[in-house]
């Protein structure tokens, strides 16, 4: 990390583990759960959030001196909404099928608490470069959880990864299916997303005891 000072690189690395937006800060849960039945939807969602959060943090940080604090929520909402409209239009133009899968959840990036949370907690008090790094870092932490959840749900639920059959063909009984393996269709349903995230939290806090909460 010769490019970044130690302080700056922490901005990116912290949210990946010990200060993860989903498992520790409890921000941005809605979309993390709803669209993770397929891996590629998770990846696209993570990239969209990274774009919105990185740029949004820079814009808010540049305007932090001139936003009156009373109306800052509305200003922030307008900035996010504009960026999200760009993402939505790009997805509709270049990945129409995927934008149908993501449906309203692209729009819901506007109210994704990660975005408002980082604007309030970081961008309003820091310079644009540091805010940009913070945005990228937090979006990466968010994306990491999304990709992990999407990976397990798609692998166990439909036996594919990014649409490619990795465990063999369930109809002609090749690969794992020839010895009696079955897909667990339950993984594709929404409740399992919650349970998978619960297990991730469990594993993370077992490894780092400092994160354990009071009951």
């Amino acid at each position: 990390m010769a490019l970044l000072s130690k302080k700056d690189s922490n901005l990116i690395l912290d949210p990946l583990a010990d200060n993860n937006p989903i498992t520790i800060q409890v921000l941005g849960i809605c979309s993390a759960l709803a669209i993770t039945a397929e891996l590629n939807a998770s990846i696209v969602m993570a990239l969209s959030v990274m774009f919105v959060l990185g740029l949004g943090n820079v814009v808010i940080s540049l305007m932090r001196g001139i936003i009156p604090s009373k109306i800052r929520i509305i200003v922030q909402l307008v900035v996010v909404a504009t960026l999200v409209i760009i993402v939505d239009q790009v997805l509709k133009a270049f990945a129409y099928e995927l934008s149908k899968t993501l449906a309203v959840f692209v729009g819901l990036i506007i109210t994704n608490c990660i975005i408002m949370g980082r604007f309030e907690a970081f961008a309003l008090g820091n310079g644009p470069w540091r805010s940009f790094l913070d945005g990228i870092g937090n979006a990466a932490g968010y994306g990491l959880i999304l990709v992990i959840v999407g990976f397990f749900r798609e692998l166990l639920g439909s036996g594919t990864l990014l649409g490619f059959p990795v465990l063999g063909d369930p109809i002609t009984k090749t690969g794992l299916y020839s010895i009696g393996y079955e897909n667990n269709g339950f993984m594709l349903l929404s409740p399992m997303a919650l349970i998978v995230v619960g297990i991730i939290i469990w594993i993370q806090r077992s490894r780092n005891r400092a994160l354990i909460e009071e009951n």
């Binding site: 498992t23 409890v26 921000l27 941005g28 849960i29 809605c30 979309s31 759960l33 709803a34 929520i73 509305i74 909402l77 307008v78 909404a81 504009t82 999200v84 409209i85 939505d88 239009q89 449906a103 309203v104 729009g107 819901l108 506007i110 109210t111 994704n112 608490c113 408002m116 349903l189 929404s190 409740p191 399992m192 997303a193 919650l194 349970i195 995230v197 619960g198 939290i201 469990w202 594993i203 993370q204 806090r205 077992s206 005891r209 354990i212 909460e213 009071e214 009951n215």
Partner: protein, 246 residues
């Protein structure tokens, strides 16, 4: 009338905002530690959803949809402004929340004291924007149904946060494994409750005429089911604890 009844129960139980679409999870997890605060936030969500969904329906119908501007004159008939819906919906919601806050503070200080602190939180609650976006995506046909949809989705959300808050108050006395305490166990309980709510999916799958007719009779059973689900979740955690002890 029947379509109203159908939509009402469908939005509360089958398409429950928390359990089926995960809307408003952030505040659902953050504010569900005590029943009293959960009730306050739940009531505020019902209120704001019931106001903003019909309002955004009007905007969608007369401003945003393809051909919506034809009331201005034939030359505007092929304008399609639907790409503006995000920004317009969120602006409406933010404005309405401010307005409601001011009006409630002026005319009903009692209500303001119980609801007031939650109102600013609500502008950025995904359940509110999600309600409007789903209303648009599902092409709800009339203003009355839009109001019904907002109200009943709000009630569904209220029900969800109330049950989880009640469970979390009880769970404080049980022996949860330390790494799961707080957030982790809440996720897993919510998952179990969502599995319980999936059983409502069979509720409206009959033929068209049979659909709405049995619905009112079924409701009592459903309310019992909700209690059962809650108890089940309780039992699950209890037996889990016993397993740990053993």
């Amino acid at each position: 009338m029947l379509e109203h009844v159908e939509l009402f129960f469908k939005s509360i139980f089958i398409d429950n905002m928390v359990f089926a679409t995960f809307l408003g999870m952030c505040s659902y997890l953050a504010v569900s530690k005590k029943v009293t605060t959960a009730v306050g936030l739940g009531a505020a969500v019902i209120f704001v959803l019931a106001v903003t969904v019909p309002l955004n329906w009007l905007l969608d119908q007369y401003l945003l949809q393809e051909g919506a501007l034809s009331w201005l004159g034939p030359e505007y008939a092929d304008y399609n402004l639907s790409f503006l819906s995000f920004i317009l919906f969120i602006a409406t919601i933010a404005t309405m929340v401010q307005l409601v806050e001011i009006v409630v503070e002026k005319f009903s200080p009692g209500l303001y004291n119980s609801l007031g602190i939650f109102l600013p939180l609500i502008a950025v609650n995904c359940a509110i924007l999600g309600g409007s976006l789903f209303m648009q995506a599902r092409e709800i046909p009339s203003l009355g149904l839009a109001f019904n949809y907002g109200l009943s989705s709000g009630i569904g959300w209220f029900l969800a946060i109330l049950t989880i808050a009640a469970i979390r108050e009880k769970i404080r006395y049980s022996n949860v494994p330390p790494p799961l305490r707080g957030l982790g166990i809440t996720f897993i309980i919510t998952g179990l409750m969502a599995i319980g709510f999936m059983s409502f999916g069979g509720m409206l799958t009959g033929g068209d005429e049979e659909v709405a007719a049995p619905a009112p009779q079924v409701t009592q059973e459903q309310e019992e089911d909700v209690k059962n689900t809650k108890e089940e979740a309780d039992e699950q955690t209890v037996s889990f604890n016993q397993a740990i002890k053993e």
